[in-house]
Symmetry: C2
Subunit: 371 residues, 2 copies
């Protein structure tokens, strides 16, 4: 199975480069507030209304403290020792809106910021910071009915153990009798099954869309895409079969047996971000009888010739951030439309290969599913 | 409302002192393996068959690296710089079996070990290490049917927001029609609603007991006991009312409305560890019409005179570790029995004020509930 990894990897580096160019920055406005993702009672890291981030690390005897964010072409933000023995610093320019992973280099070692919550990315639990976005309302915790996020441990004979998945069930599921369609939604390289609910706020995005009457409720399932097993930059070496077996032969039957699903191809979607998009493309093409709705979020494209039986595909959704390579996504959707597919593109404005792009992509995708 | 905090706090310090005495240690056996709680692909920290822990931290330019575990009266384990620029060290003696929180002091700052998973304790996400216990089988992940752990966001008018709880539903709940009793199970000071499922393995303890036919299935609910708001050592200042309102007036009605519970006093239990035991004692005594089964795990005792209407109390369970003050628990249960209460004591062998005591306590408590 050949996976076209190059375009995705190029996309990642383009996004990284975009983050590095801080030409002609505006004066810093001193309205810094704690990042919404801080640990309880922690003041730092802070963010201001322009998107600057300010860090404070206590390590009085350290020689050097550096934050991986706010690159400025200098390998991150160098903190300076303050009079109280702490280390402080502000990014050289504003960050993109939304969620960013980061870590702290202290005397040559990589650690997390004790002030911030941790999120699994880059094959480790990293610190997370949130630059409040102008459109943060769609994933805010609101006074609406909330669905539940269920941790399930499903048997995986191919791994000879139980594996973990998270299952979002919409508000009212727990006492109702309705059956629901299911979206299988995958994380990216170095992440795991916690990503979409933790940093992605997929549950809140769904709660809010349902409360506004904008979508028909459906179930979302996240599991681990076994992507840690491949080194970053060597994604071509990734073999899809072990994960495909887990997803198609083990998890889907478990979900259909334990949840009130509409257990049919027409009511089953698969989507994934970045490397999870690569997985989605391969698995949907390998299993046309299993999924009918396909979505790749910063995770490549489909060509009309990829698909053998057009009648089985109800939707193809392709998205990315405007700081990635949107023209690839747009052109691919144009070609799919010309070939009479129901295809939709979405480009997230002023974001790169990061979770704000994918939160928005889910928000755009959800109303299109299972119509 | 007066809460007897002193005995608990004394218990904590007795446990800490016990950990510090490493007289006449055996020779270290070189059979170290990665701790079961390491992050993916991480070799360190390691543990050996005797309970020693070995740490390795990369920070080539640091002046001093110290681990908070393995005290030996010297403020933790001091790591030494190895030839490859890393810092390494082994605890001076064996640790108690089970789970321990820890952190790393690097050049005067407190950080987490990048090799270990994080667990919420001490009002921060701390590193966790597991010394494999001789009785670890009862909380092992086995090839049995697994219940689900549901994250719910329930409305809390008294806090003007939604709060989080975790709800364990037993295997088969999701497709059945039975109604279940409920145990409300609280964490300790500095912890939160994640503690019982993450470091406590409450879900696996239940799965295994159910698979062995040793208990009748019930639901477990964990929520945040609002214990961060009080400083360690100032627990007497804690006011129960805000949490009592959340639990009794907000969470219980939500759980009874959204899950198939037996919504009666006779089928509702409350238990808590350490400061969660203090909360349990106060709330059960304040609300005799709500709970019928009470359990304090390293969290104080009841006297017969505490209880106004004996007929309403179906079980009192008191436990602690043998390295705490077991005589207090044993004497309290004797007095309760003399006063004709159904009271049970349990002392966890060779453990202190730590999660191994509480895992074992839950394992002992569960078969006694809702008989």
């Amino acid at each position: 199975m050949k996976i076209k990894a190059k375009s995705i990897i190029v996309g990642i580096f383009v996004a990284m480069l975009a983050q590095q160019s801080f030409a002609q920055q505006p004066a810093v406005i001193e309205d810094f507030k704690p990042s919404p993702l801080n640990q309880p009672q922690q003041e730092y890291p802070m963010v201001n209304s322009q998107g600057y981030a300010r860090f404070k690390i206590i390590a009085p005897a350290a020689d050097s403290v550096r934050v991986s964010l706010g690159l400025g072409g200098k390998g991150g933000t160098k903190l300076e020792k303050a009079s109280d023995g702490s280390w402080m610093g502000t990014t050289e320019g504003p960050m993109d809106e939304g969620f960013h992973y980061y870590n702290i280099k202290i005397d040559g070692g990589k650690f997390n910021d004790p002030g911030a919550l941790n999120y699994y990315g880059s094959v480790r639990w990293e610190s997370g910071i949130e630059i409040p976005a102008h459109d943060q309302d769609f994933y805010a915790l609101k006074n609406v009915a909330h669905g539940h996020v269920q941790q399930v441990l499903f048997p995986s004979p191919s791994n000879n153990t139980s594996l973990r998945a998270f299952v979002y069930t919409p508000p009212g599921y727990e006492k109702g009798k309705d059956k629901y369609p299911v979206l299988y939604l995958q994380h990216g390289w170095g992440e795991d099954e916690t990503a979409w609910m933790n940093q992605g706020h997929a549950n809140l995005i769904m709660d809010n869309l349902i409360a506004e009457g904008k979508i028909k409720p459906f179930i979302i399932v996240n599991t681990y895409g076994m992507t840690n097993e491949v080194k970053f930059g060597r994604m071509k070496d990734f073999k899809i079969e072990p994960f495909q077996t887990v997803l198609v032969n083990e998890l889907i039957p478990y979900v259909d047996a334990h949840f009130r699903t509409i257990a049919k191809q027409t009511h089953r979607a698969m989507a994934g971000l970045s490397m999870g998009g690569m997985e989605t493309k391969t698995i949907t093409l390998n299993n046309p009888e299993v999924f009918s709705h396909y979505a790749l979020l910063s995770g490549g494209t489909y060509a009309p010739t990829d698909i053998k039986d057009k009648s089985k595909v109800k939707l193809i959704f392709l998205s990315c951030g405007s700081k990635e390579r949107p023209e690839g996504v747009i052109k691919a959707v144009e070609a799919l439309k010309e070939a009479s597919f129901n295809a939709v593109s979405y480009v997230s404005d002023k974001t790169g290969h990061e979770f704000q792009t994918w939160r928005r992509s889910l928000h755009e995708l959800a109303p299109l599913l299972f119509k």
